[in-house]
Amino acid sequence: MTEITAARPGLLTLGLRQGRSELTRFLRSREAVVFTMLFPVLMIVIFGSIFTWEIYPGVQFSQYFVVGMIGAGLMATGFQNLAIQIPSERDRGELKRLRGTPMPPAVYFIGKVLMVLAVAAAETVLLLVFAVAFYGVTLPTEVTKWLTFAWVSLLGVASCTLCGVAFSSVARTARSAPAVATPIALVLQFISGVFIKFTQLPDWMQQIAALFPLKWICQGLRSVFLPAGMAAEEPAGSWELDRVAMVLVAWCLLGLVLCLTTFRWTTKRDG
């Protein structure tokens, strides 16, 4: 059977094609573009104009919030997007049809990952432009901070994507998917230091939030975009970048294991 696999384009080529097709579908789907890309912008415009009090000498809460929204945006493109999109594809039999072809399963996932990466990158740039132009966020000048930004974003997107794929098996039908995924994302945003300054939350709430990726993504991003002195305002009195990395890697691994063990190509009634 070697000659058969040899005649087909390689995994990478197929994955790239799949990614292009996924991205095309995303961009042509107006609701998805609006919900995923413009909703965070809208939130920034609304809350950024309300959260104007100072939380640190020279730093308004809007700056803290805008950085948190970048993190929430990463979660939206990875987690909500896939946790809603995949059950819909499963319900409509698209996954079943793909399963009936010789497509290697990895191609499907590579396609999703590339789509999420492209959308997340575009969204992050969009939010950063807004944050810098209107909400007093300054871009860092040190290379190390940009590197931190890169790995926090990548690990953040990776963990959310894997969790989104894994979570897609929870929803029984496409219709119930948004109802299952959206509240989780919303609750995490409230308890992870997006809408409310993390250290103002009750201790038990901080403990719960610390179990999930979003808190750590936001914390990592704050280390890039907020003054170094604000590290003292964090729960541990520092940015804890080593712990950010550890938790996000752990969630990547957990998400990967869940994906591999629970992913379903067919609905329950399909057997």
Binding site: T5, R28, R92, R97
Partner: protein
């Protein structure tokens, strides 16, 4: 035959090397419900085989086990010489599956979907040729969600045949078609069959089975109750014929096992003149089929 020549071949059944599908004693239960209760089935290579049966008879379960989608509880299954429960990419490249579709691949265009699927197969047909063959060339640039039901079905078929399958599964392919679209679709299936593709078709339309199938199998209550050519199913070829004609005082009809002799008598009675309203009919496949599944119920 020298022993060396038969090495590696199954010599128990001399025909078995020509089977595309071979099923013996297939069983599958969902909880207490025995959906498939001992199905035996054999489809030869190059054959068009229609599986008929009422909803809930075990048709879909059987086919989906053959397609590798479902696990079986018991029985032997061989599809193109492979157990579908151990299906790998190489096996999937040799089969084509036309599933029922609803609203799939929205936001992609016809040509884009066909090209995407072509990439999955080691020896795919030219996407433009396949789109042409299913009659969608004019719609190649159209978004999938703008297609009519019949056009969408053609796209399903295009995706099913893009990999040049040796064996094609067609699940109720013309449901929702208008008569014209059905006839065109039948032409497409005949072309595939003529090119040597083995086809397993499930359908609710008896005329479709009669038009397309070399043999039909009737499945009810999880078992295959008969396999025959459409002309012979349920003893159809030997069934009494109905001769109808019109006498001056009104229409008449008679059941007879010897319609030729009966008509000859009529001819002499009418003095060789044209017999008004003469027709000789056998029971339709549909009548035979309804009788068969009625008996099983």
């Amino acid at each position: 035959m020298p022993a060396i020549l038969s090495a590696g071949f199954d010599i128990v059944d001399p025909m078995s090397s020509e089977a595309a599908i071979e099923v013996v004693g297939l069983r599958k239960a969902y909880g207490d419900h025995q959906a498939v209760a001992g199905v035996d089935l054999r489809v030869d290579k190059g054959e068009v085989f229609a599986l008929l049966g009422p909803n809930g008879a075990g048709k879909t379960t059987t086919v989906e086990i053959l397609e590798g989608y479902r696990r079986r509880d018991a029985g032997e299954v061989s599809v193109l010489g492979v157990d579908p429960a151990k299906a790998d990419a190489a096996w999937r490249a040799r089969i084509g599956i036309v599933l029922q579709s609803t609203n799939q691949f929205d936001n992609l265009r016809v040509g884009e979907v066909v090209r995407l699927f072509a990439g999955y197969y080691p020896d795919a047909e030219d996407p433009a040729v396949v789109v042409e063959r299913v009659g969608l060339t004019a719609k190649a640039g159209a978004a999938v969600h703008t297609l009519s039901g019949g056009q969408r079905r053609r796209l399903d078929v295009a995706l099913g045949i893009i990999g040049r399958p040796e064996l094609l599964f067609l699940d109720e392919p013309t449901t929702g078609f208008d008569p014209q679209a059905r006839r065109e679709f039948w032409g497409l299936v005949r072309n595939l069959a003529a090119a040597g593709t083995t086809i397993l078709l499930t359908t609710h339309y008896l005329d479709e089975a009669e038009e397309l199938a070399d043999r039909v199998g009737v499945i009810t209550a999880g078992q295959v109750v008969e396999v025959a050519t459409p002309a012979e199913l349920g003893g159809r070829s030997q069934a009494a014929a109905t001769v109808s004609w019109v006498e001056p005082d009104g229409p008449r009809s008679a059941q007879t096992d010897t319609p030729t002799a009966f008509v000859r008598q009529l001819v002499s009675r009418f003095g060789g003149a044209e017999i008004p309203g003469l027709s000789v009919t056998r029971p339709t496949l549909e009548e035979i089929y309804l009788k068969m599944i009625g008996e099983e119920r």
